[in-house]
C-alpha cells in the first residue's frame, strides 16, 4: 500500500515531477554517454595495442629488452613453445626476430625496429594485416625476387615514399566525400604540383584555405591527394650476428595505418627467412615468442604460470610491457566514479528540493496521516519511496536514452578526424565507438537508488518532525 501511495504521490504534481525526471534523465544520459565515449577511447587503445602491437604475452631472452643485442636470442625455442602452449588460455604463438636498424630512402633516413616475422602465423595472432591501406599492396603475401617490407604510413611519410598532388582524380574523390565546391575551387591552384612530404603539402593547402576551412578539411584533402607508387624501395641497414654492418634494399609490399603514430613510424615487418639470411641468425632462433590467449582476462593467470615455468626468461603480459595502458585503464575507473559521483550529487540536490516542496505542501495531509495512525516508519518509507521512484524513473529513462544513443553511435562511430593528428600521436583512434559494459549499468542503477534514498532523508525527517495538531491547523 505504501509503495502504491508513494507512486501516486509522485504523479500528484505531474509537471514538477516531469521536470525533475527530465533533469535526472539528462544528467544520467550526459554522465553515462560521456563515460561511454571516454571508455571507448581507452578500450580501443588497449584493443589496438593488444591486437596490433603486443598481443597478450611475450617471452624474451632476459637480456634482450635492455641490450637490444642481436645475439640475445631464445636458445631453446622448442621448449619455450611447448611450455607456452600449456599456459592457461593459450591459443597460438609465433616467434619474431627483432633488430634495430635504420631505414632510408634517397635523402631521408630514420631509426626503426625491424621485425622478422612469419606472415601466415602473424595473421592468426595479430590484426595488423587488416590495417593495410587499400591499394598499397599486401601483407608480405606476394612472392617476388626482391626483399619485401611492410611499413607504417607514418614511416612512409618520413621516408617521403608518400607523395601528395591535387589531380582530377583527387578532386573527384573530394567531391564524392562532399567537400564544398568553393574549397575544391581553391585547391585547383595547387593542381599539377607534386609535394614530396606531408609538411610541404600541408603548408601549401594552408596557404590557399582559410584557417577554419583548413582545420576542418585538411584530413579529407590529404586522404584524397595521397599517392604511393607500389614497390617503392627502401634501404634497411643493421648489424648482423657477426657484428658486420649490413644493408639491403627492400621493396615496400604494403603500407599499414593504425592509430598509433609511434608504432607506425618505428615498425618495419619483413619475412623472417629474408632477415635470417641477411643477419645470419640460425634457424629456429628468435628474440621473442609472442602468445595469443583466448581472452584478455587470462593474461594474469598465463603470465603467472609462465613466470614459474620459464624462470630463465623474461615473461611479460601486455600490462607490463605498456604499464601506461594498464594505469590508464585503472585511472579511468576512478575518473568514472568521480564523474558519476558529481552528477549524482548535483541530481540529489534537485531531488531534495522537489521532495522538500512536496512535503511542505502536504503538511496538513501528513499531519492527518499521523493523527489517524500512520506511524513514523511508514511516513518515512512513503517519502523515501517517492524520492526513489522519482530518481529511479529519471535514472532508468536516462540509461535507456544512453543505451539507445550508445548503440546508435557505436555502429558508425563518432568522427573526430579533425583532431586525428593529435589523437593518433598518442595512439588514440579518430573514430570513437562508445561502449559501456553491463556491470557499469547495474552499478549506476544501484547508485541512482542510493541517491534517491539519500535525497529523501532530509525531507522525510522534516515530515517526521511535524506535530499532527500544528500540521492539521495549517491552511
Amino acid at each position: 500500500m505504501i509503495p502504491e501511495i508513494a507512486w501516486k504521490n509522485v504523479w500528484r504534481n505531474k509537471s514538477r515531477s516531469l521536470i525533475v525526471i527530465t533533469a535526472v534523465t539528462i544528467g544520467v544520459f550526459a554522465g553515462v554517454f560521456t563515460i561511454a565515449v571516454m571508455n571507448s577511447s581507452v578500450v580501443q587503445r588497449i584493443d589496438a595495442a593488444v591486437n596490433e602491437e603486443l598481443s597478450h604475452i611475450q617471452v624474451n631472452n632476459k637480456e634482450f629488452r635492455s641490450s637490444s643485442d642481436i645475439k640475445s636470442l631464445i636458445p631453446d625455442y622448442d621448449k619455450v613453445v611447448t611450455d607456452m602452449m600449456k599456459a592457461p588460455g593459450m591459443q597460438d604463438l609465433t616467434g619474431r626476430i627483432i633488430i634495430r636498424g635504420i631505414a632510408s630512402t634517397a635523402g631521408r633516413s630514420t631509426g626503426v625496429e625491424i621485425n622478422g616475422i612469419n606472415a601466415a602465423k602473424e595473421k592468426q595472432i595479430f590484426t595488423l594485416h587488416e590495417k593495410l591501406i587499400p591499394g598499397t599492396g599486401d601483407f608480405l603475401d606476394t612472392e617476388t625476387k626482391y626483399n619485401k617490407a611492410f611499413i607504417g604510413e607514418k614511416l612512409a611519410k618520413e621516408l617521403n615514399i608518400i607523395r601528395y598532388s591535387i589531380t582530377e582524380e583527387s578532386l573527384k574523390k573530394l567531391k564524392d566525400e562532399k567537400l564544398p565546391g568553393e574549397i575544391s575551387t581553391k585547391l585547383i591552384a595547387l593542381k599539377g604540383e607534386r609535394f614530396t612530404s606531408d609538411k610541404k603539402f600541408s603548408r601549401a593547402v594552408e596557404a590557399v584555405l582559410l584557417p577554419g576551412e583548413y582545420r576542418k578539411y585538411i584530413y579529407l584533402i590529404k586522404e584524397a591527394a595521397w599517392s604511393y607508387r607500389p614497390g617503392s624501395k627502401i634501404i634497411l641497414s643493421f648489424i648482423d650476428i657477426n657484428n658486420n654492418q649490413t644493408e639491403a634494399a627492400f621493396r615496400v609490399s604494403g603500407i599499414f595505418r593504425t592509430n598509433n603514430d609511434m608504432f607506425e613510424a618505428m615498425s618495419v615487418f619483413v619475412p623472417e627467412e629474408e632477415l635470417r639470411q641477411l643477419t645470419g641468425i640460425p634457424e629456429n632462433s628468435y628474440h621473442r615468442v609472442i602468445g595469443r590467449l583466448k581472452d584478455n582476462s587470462l593474461s594474469e593467470a598465463a603470465s603467472a604460470y609462465l613466470k614459474k615455468e620459464l624462470p630463465g626468461y623474461e615473461v611479460m603480459q601486455w600490462k607490463e610491457i605498456q604499464p601506461d595502458l594498464a594505469m590508464l585503464a585503472d585511472m579511468m575507473q576512478q575518473i568514472y566514479g568521480i564523474f558519476m559521483g558529481i552528477i549524482l550529487a548535483a541530481l540529489s540536490f534537485g531531488i531534495v528540493n522537489t521532495m522538500l516542496m512536496s512535503v511542505l505542501e502536504r503538511t496538513r495531509e501528513i499531519g492527518m496521516l499521523s493523527a489517524i495512525g500512520m506511524n513514523r516508519n511508514r511516513i518515512f518509507s512513503m517519502i523515501m519511496l517517492e524520492s526513489v521512484f522519482l530518481s529511479l524513473t529519471g535514472g532508468l529513462s536516462g540509461m535507456l536514452v544512453s543505451g539507445i544513443v550508445i548503440a546508435a553511435t557505436s555502429k558508425n562511430g563518432i568522427n573526430l578526424v579533425q583532431y586525428s593528428e593529435g589523437l593518433e600521436a598518442f595512439g588514440y583512434s579518430a573514430y570513437l565507438f562508445p561502449t559501456i559494459d553491463a556491470p557499469f549499468f547495474i552499478m549506476t542503477t544501484i547508485l541512482i537508488v542510493f541517491t534517491g534514498i539519500l535525497s529523501s532523508v532530509y525531507p522525510a525527517r522534516k515530515a517526521l518532525k511535524l506535530n499532527p495538531i500544528e500540521a492539521l491547523r495549517k491552511e
Binding site: M1, N9, E365, S370, I372, G373, M374, R376, I469
Partner: protein
C-alpha cells in the same frame, strides 16, 4: 460501560508573554454509543479537549483513560498505534488522501492494520452503502462534493470499528442539506455500530441531534445536559 474517563484535566499553553488555560480542570465520562456534542464559544477549549481525547496532545495535568488505558503513559509510537486501533477522526476540512479513491480512503486504516483484502472490501462496501456513496467508490476526492467527501471521511473513521469517533466541526464547511444528510448518517451509524461519537461544534443542527450537550467556557465545563 465507560469508554472515556477524564479526571481533572488541565492543558496550559505557555507562550512567551501569556499563560493560557485552554482546558481548565475538566472531568467527564463518556459511555459506549453516546452521541455527544461539545459546544461553546470560540476559544472555549473545545478543539483542545478533542485533541486531548484523541491522544494528539497530552494534558498538562490530570488523567485521560480510554478503556482503562492512561494515554499519558504511552510512548509516542504506542500512542499512534492506539489511535489507529481505537479512535476515528473526522476533520472540519475532510482531509481525505487526494491520490486515493473513496474506497481506498476508507480502506486506508484497515490497510495499516493489515486486514485481509476480502475483509477490507466487505467493510468498505458496507460503509459506502451506509453513507450512500456506493456508486462513487472509484471516485477521487476531487470529484466529490464537500458533503460527499465528509461522508467518506466518516466512513473512513468508522472503518476499523474504533471505540469512539472524534469529529471536529464536521459540518462547518457544509451546506444545510449536506449537513443534515451527514448528521443522519452519523446518528444511524452510532445506533447501528454502537460507536461513541463526540463532536465539537457551533452548529445548532448538530446540537439539536446530539443526545448529550457539554458546554465549555474558558476551558471549564459549565453544563452537561443529556437530552435523552
Amino acid at each position: 460501560m465507560k469508554v472515556i474517563e477524564i479526571t481533572d484535566v488541565y492543558k496550559i499553553y505557555n507562550s512567551s508573554e501569556i499563560k493560557v488555560n485552554a482546558v481548565n480542570g475538566v472531568s467527564l465520562d463518556f459511555e459506549e454509543a453516546e452521541f455527544a456534542a461539545i459546544v461553546g464559544p470560540s476559544g472555549s477549549g473545545k478543539t483542545t479537549l478533542l485533541n486531548l481525547l484523541g491522544g494528539l496532545d497530552l494534558p498538562t495535568s490530570g488523567k485521560i483513560l480510554i478503556d482503562g488505558t492512561d494515554l499519558s503513559l504511552l510512548k509516542s509510537s504506542q500512542l499512534i498505534d492506539f489511535r489507529m486501533r481505537n479512535i476515528g477522526f473526522v476533520f472540519q476540512a475532510y482531509n481525505l488522501i487526494p491520490v486515493l479513491t473513496a474506497r481506498e480512503n476508507i480502506e486506508f486504516i484497515m490497510n495499516l492494520q493489515k486486514m485481509s483484502k476480502a475483509s477490507r472490501e466487505e467493510r468498505s462496501f458496507e460503509l459506502l452503502k451506509a453513507v450512500g456513496l456506493d456508486d462513487r467508490a472509484g471516485s477521487r476526492p476531487s470529484k466529490l462534493s464537500g458533503g460527499q467527501q465528509q461522508r467518506i471521511a466518516v466512513a473512513r473513521a468508522l472503518a476499523s470499528k474504533p471505540r469512539f469517533v472524534l469529529a471536529d466541526e464536521p459540518t462547518a464547511n457544509l451546506d444545510s442539506k449536506s449537513a443534515s444528510t451527514l448528521l443522519e448518517i452519523m446518528e444511524k451509524l452510532n445506533h447501528e455500530e454502537k460507536i461513541t461519537f463526540i463532536f465539537s461544534t457551533h452548529d445548532p443542527r448538530v446540537v439539536k441531534m446530539a443526545h448529550r450537550i457539554i458546554t465549555l467556557e474558558d476551558g471549564k465545563v459549565v453544563s452537561d445536559v443529556r437530552t435523552e
